[in-house]
Structure formats: C-alpha cells, structure tokens
C-alpha cells in the first residue's frame, strides 16, 4: 500500500511534468513563429554605413536565359568577407525586388562570407534562401552562377567559391544545382560569358 502523501506527491510531480512539457511546447511554437516571421518578413538591413561605391552585379534573366551586368551602389566595409557579403546582399536584394528577372524567396539572405587565404570564398546562405528557391536545373544554375560571377567581379582575387547553408554542407540548392562542389571561378566565368 503506497502512503497517501506519496500518491499525492507523485500525482503533483506527474502533473508538473506534463504542465512544464506543454508550456515548453507552447514557448517553442511561439519562438518558432517569431523566428520564421523574422526570417521571412524582415527587410535586408543595409550592410554598413559610409559612402556608397559602384559594384558590378551579374543579373540572371529567367525569361531569356541570359546574364547581364548591372552597376549598383553599395557601401562596402574594408574586411574582404564583409565586403563580399555586402556585394552578395545587394544582388539578393535586386532579386527580391518586385518584377525581378530572377525572383528569390522573401527572407533569402547571405549569412556570411568567409574569404580564406584571400582566394577562396565560403558563402553561407540562410535556410530561407534554399528552402524558398524554385526547383529546376536552369533556375538553380542561374542563381549559383550569378552569385559566383558577382562575387568574382567585385573581388578578382577570389578563384574558388564554396557554398554552405547555415554553416553546413548541403547537396543541392533545390534538388539540382551542386552545392557540394568547390567552384572554380574561371570555369563559371566561361559559362557566364556564354549567357551574356
């Protein structure tokens, strides 16, 4: 026979466990909603304060299947990684404009760019970028090539580019374009020239 006070204590503990579990689930759901809203709705923050300088963007045009250069202005920091990130964010911002020639999903962003040994750029994309990207060889290849060509055009020292998503490797952008590869900028530039 279990003493009555033990029964009460166990009942209280169990109800406490379930209460805390439900509360935690509730909090987790709210936090997830909040972060999702933040990820998808928040506008891209300006990269850095300071005078804007001209940068070259390689803009993809889905309809014609071509790539064209466009000059934009952006304030660029001195650090090569932050500078590369600012350039790519400007490109992503272009693609998020209304009537974009190559629309990207809302909330798409470049988390970071690490420039290793001055020549290898490691581009860390956010989840919204890949999860919201349209699927297809053509459209995915245009995105990858546009990012690489833009990066290289504004930092000629970069010879290779590697993509990560939230700091981790991912097989493909949206089922087709290779994100595991270490891209050779010279080869990509050859492809881009064929599309210009």
């Amino acid at each position: 026979m279990i003493p009555r006070h033990m029964q009460i204590a166990v009942a209280l503990v169990l109800s406490g466990i379930f209460g805390v579990a439900f509360y935690m689930l509730h909090l987790k759901g709210r936090a997830h909603e909040g972060s999702a809203r933040l990820a998808f709705d928040s506008p891209l923050a300006p990269p850095v304060a300071g005078p804007a300088v001209p940068i070259t963007l390689y803009i993809a045009y889905d309809g014609d299947g071509v790539m064209r250069t466009r000059t934009a202005n952006a304030a660029l920091p001195a650090d090569p990684g932050a500078r590369a990130r600012a350039v790519l964010r400007a490109l992503v911002g272009e693609y998020q404009q209304a009537n974009s020639s190559h629309p990207l999903a809302g909330g798409s962003d470049v988390n970071d760019v690490f420039v290793v040994n001055g020549s290898i750029a490691v581009v860390d994309l956010n989840t919204a970028f890949v999860e919201g990207h349209r699927s297809g060889i053509w459209v995915e290849a245009l995105t990858v090539e546009s990012l690489i060509a833009t990066l290289a055009a504004n930092n000629p020292a970069i010879s290779q580019v590697k993509f990560l998503v939230e700091g981790k490797e991912r097989e493909t952008l949206a089922g087709h374009a290779d994100l595991m590869a270490l891209y050779d900028v010279a080869q990509v530039n050859q492809l881009v020239r064929r599309l210009e």
Binding site: H5, I8, A9, V10, L12, V13, L14, G16, I17, D62, G65, R134, S135, G136, I137, W138, V139, A141, V144, E171, T172, A174, G175, H176, A177, D178, M180, A181, Y183, Q187, V188, L191, R194
Partner: protein, 500 residues
C-alpha cells in the same frame, strides 16, 4: 499538505528528473524500434521486393498476402476467423490461432499459430520456406541471416578459385551478373551484395598464398565477402559482371598514371572509401603489354554499350512542383520508361536507376551507373521554365582529370567529359532534325551527380513545349523526347565505343 510538500520538496527534482528520463526512454525505444523495422527481401525471377516482418507471440511473422500479391493473381475471401487465399489454381485456407493450414488439400504445419486479421493472414517467418512452395509450386530458399527469400532459381552462388602465377588473382564466378558495392582498406577488400541475389550460407576460405590469404562470406542483412591479403587489393569485373577478379593493386607510378590492370573496368560503390581509378586510355594495348606468356590473366571484359536511365528525384524527394498536381518525379519516370522502351526497340541495353516511386540518393545514383559500367548515364529532369529540351554536361574539364591511380569522387567525370560532350552534341543534332520541332539547347551546368559518374554523363531537362506546363504530361511530347534521345544514343554508339 504543506507538511507533505515541504518534506518532499528536496527530492522533487529527483522525481521530476526520473520522470523525464523515463519518458525519454519510452520515446527513444519507440523511435529505435521504428527505425529498425525488419524487412524480408524477396528475390524472384520476375521481381525483387520486400515485406515487413512483425513480431507476435515471441515469433517473427510476415503477411502472406504481401508476399503473394507481387507474384501473381491473388484473391482473398474471409469467413469467421478464417481466410482463404486463391493464388493461381491453388487454394490455401488459414484459421486464426491455428498452427496448421490447408494448402491445396494438404495439411501443413506452420511451426506457430497463424494470425488472421481483416483481409490478411500472418504466418510465422520460419514456416515460409515450406508454405510458399506449396502455393507457388516452386522452391523457396529462406536465409535467416540476411532475411532474404529466394524463389525458384532467383538466387545465385559463387565459386572461388585462386589462380597462382606471376599475376596471382582470386576469381569469383557467379551464375548471373552482380554489382556489389566494393570498398577497400589496408589489406582487405570488401564486397557488399546489397542488391544482388547471393544465396549462400556464411563460410570461410583459407588460401595457401602469400598475397591473398583468406576470404570470408557473411550472410547478414548486408551480405558481404571480405577478402584478406598482404597487399592492397582491387577488384575487376569481367564476363559482363559474372566474374570478379581480385588481385594486388599495382604500385602507383608517376610515369604510368594508368596503372590499373589492363582491360578491366574497376567498380566501386563506396566512393568515400575507394575512389574510382583512372581508366586505361587503351585497355587492349595495355593488356598486351602487361600480359606475359604462360600466366593466367583475367578474361578481357565484354564491353557492353549500356545506358543508365535515371528518372531524377522520386520517393520523398519530389523535385520541382510543376503544377498543382504535377510533380517532377512523375514526369521524369514517365519519360524514363518511354526511353527504356525506345532503347529496347533499337536493341540497346539499359538499366533504370529507379522504376518506381522510390527515394535514391544522388551518390547512389552515380554509384549504380558506375557499378553497372554504363557507357552513358542520362539523368532526366523536368522544369517549367523556358521551352523544349535542355541538355547539360558537367562543368568539369578534361584538365581537371587526376593523373593518379585514384581520382576524387567529385571529379570522376573529368576523365569522361569529352565523351559526355560528344553524346550531348549528338542529342542536340537529333532534336534539331527531329520533325517535332522541339527547341533544344546545350549548356554545361553544375548538376548533381554528373561529376561522380565514370562514363559519358548528361542531364536532360524537359520543359513545356509551348509554355503550357501540362504539355509535360502529353504522351506525344514525351514519346517525341524519348524517341529523339534513343535515336541519338543509338547513333552515337560507335563514337562512344571507339572512345572506350
């Protein structure tokens, strides 16, 4: 109440922690059991499939309905606690909780109780080997270790023969072509027969040889043959996959980058462990130069012109959502089947990477093409952007080719990119002259898994013909694409065989 609470409060955290651990344990156990769902793989002359194994009364059971349905016409009728199965001309009757069944007028012991529920009957797994022959009128060979069931002559055995001499090698002879996944580590070569119907019991072999010393076959969930030696070993295929020779790997020489044994195709299914060696540029001449009179050399392979057709995506990976009800994986499978038929009409061999709605990883797709020694790998895709057909080759160039014996998995295609470009240009020519006027374009593009394929490899993306995405399901459009591809793959054959 206050008194009880204050007494128990110091231990409250302990009780809470115990509760949480208990809950976690329950969840973990449930998850683990779900993950480790046992399955019985059935090999028959017509198909290979698997059925779930469930546990009841401390015994393993399988659904007889699930076993019989893929093998022929099955009719089921039920009564109170009874079920009757009519398979072809045989009638089998099972009663719930009875340990015997009436099959074709004979009483058969089940070695356990049958479980009849709804429209199916579960029988003990141990009884399958003598229940099925009564119904199917063919032999059933159940291997408990690998949980595989071989019906009729579906299983294959292999014989080992150590051939000594200047080029000591171990020859494995199979009755049907096999494509094991091969990996190597120091002094050992492992072949995993994940998809091959090897029906053998676990056994070991010892060899009186200083190079290849032993072999051990394990009849497990992933049947494997491990060959031990005192030197690094490699495997080569011959006789259209019916013969595998294992021999010491040649030393890597900077003067002779193509040091792989002559005239052989070397397969691997485990790229991370055993990257593909660079193929010999001229297998025939290499064979002549390395073979000395009197030695028993492995038979020269019969080079098949085999097309690997990859219906991209599938299963949990639907690919692009082309329309509200239209998924890329369904379109690619439909075109792949049509392409297979067209190739058959033209007398070309082909292998489908998937022929159903199954999930296949990108690495596995390339591994399958490589282990089947496909001359051309065609990955079919569908997209709703643009019009017509786009053909893609790898972005690698021949200058990326590795000069060593082993090449990185991600650059395997570099050795074959010229062949890929040849095939792609012939496909473009074929579409250009095709009467259907399907627009066609050719691009290099970074498409997975082209870079991992050891053979001509290309991706073909089919877009709507005239802007209407529904045209992707149009039979005549799919036929036109399949016909043009098959015609191109036929006409390019001499060029590819010349390159081989």
């Amino acid at each position: 109440m206050h008194l009880i609470s204050s007494r128990l409060r110091p231990k409250l955290w302990l009780v809470q922690a115990s509760g949480l651990i208990l809950l976690f344990g329950v969840f973990a156990t449930t998850f683990a059991s779900w993950m480790e769902q046992k399955r019985l793989t059935v090999f028959s002359a017509s198909s290979t499939f698997s059925v779930d194994i469930t546990e009841a009364d401390s015994q393993e059971y399988v659904s007889l309905n699930n076993l019989l349905a893929p093998l022929g016409q099955l009719e089921v009728s039920t009564g109170k606690n009874k079920i009757r199965l009519h398979f072809n001309s045989v009638e089998a009757q099972f009663e719930n909780r009875e340990s015997t069944a009436n099959i074709g007028g004979h009483s058969i012991a089940l070695g356990g109780r049958a479980i009849v529920e709804e429209n199916r009957v579960m029988v003990p797994l141990s009884a399958i080997a003598h229940v099925l022959p009564r119904i199917l009128s063919m032999r059933a060979d159940y291997h408990q270790g690998s949980q595989r069931l071989f019906l009729g002559d579906a299983g294959t055995h292999f014989a080992l023969e150590l051939r000594k001499g200047e080029g000591t090698h171990l020859v494995l002879s199979f009755s049907v072509p096999v494509s094991p996944q091969i990996s190597t580590e120091s002094g050992k070569l492992k072949m995993v027969f994940a998809n091959d119907p090897v029906a053998m019991a676990s056994q070991s072999w010892q060899f009186d040889d200083s190079v290849i010393t032993a072999a051990h076959y394990t009849d497990a969930a992933q049947p494997e043959l491990v060959i031990s030696g005192n030197q690094p070993l490699l495997a080569t295929f011959a006789d259209a996959g019916k013969s595998i020779s294992v021999m010491p790997a040649p030393a890597v020489s900077s003067d002779s980058p193509s040091a792989a044994p002559a005239g052989q195709q070397i397969a691997t299914g485990q790229p991370a462990e055993a990257p593909l060696p660079q193929p010999s540029a001229n297998p025939a001449s290499a064979l002549a130069s390395t073979e000395s009179p009197g030695t028993i050399a492995p038979a020269a392979p019969q080079v098949r012109y085999l097309i690997a057709i990859d219906a991209s995506h599938g299963g949990n990976e639907p690919g692009a959502a082309l329309g509200q009800q239209l998924l890329e994986k369904d379109v690619t499978l439909a075109i792949a089947r049509k392409l297979r038929s067209q190739l058959q009409v033209r007398g070309l061999d082909s292998v489908m990477v998937r022929d159903g709605d199954t999930t296949v990883s990108l690495d596995d797709r390339a591994a399958l093409a490589n282990t089947s020694h496909a001359a051309v790998y065609v990955a079919l895709h569908a997209g709703n952007l643009g019009r017509g057909v786009r053909v893609y080759t790898s972005t690698l160039s021949s200058t990326d080719a590795s000069p060593g014996l082993f090449v990185p998995w991600e650059k395997v295609q570099a050795n074959f990119v010229r062949s890929s470009q040849v095939v792609a240009s012939v496909i473009v020519d074929e579409f250009t002259k095709n009467e259907t006027q399907v627009p066609v374009a050719l691009f290099p593009a970074p498409v997975r898994p082209l870079n991992n394929v050891a053979g001509a490899a290309l991706a073909v993306e089919v877009a709507p013909l005239r802007g209407n995405v529904e045209s992707l399901t149009n039979t005549s459009y799919q036929d036109a694409v399949a016909e043009a591809l098959a015609a191109a793959l036929t006409s390019v054959r001499p060029k590819i065989e010349a390159r081989q």
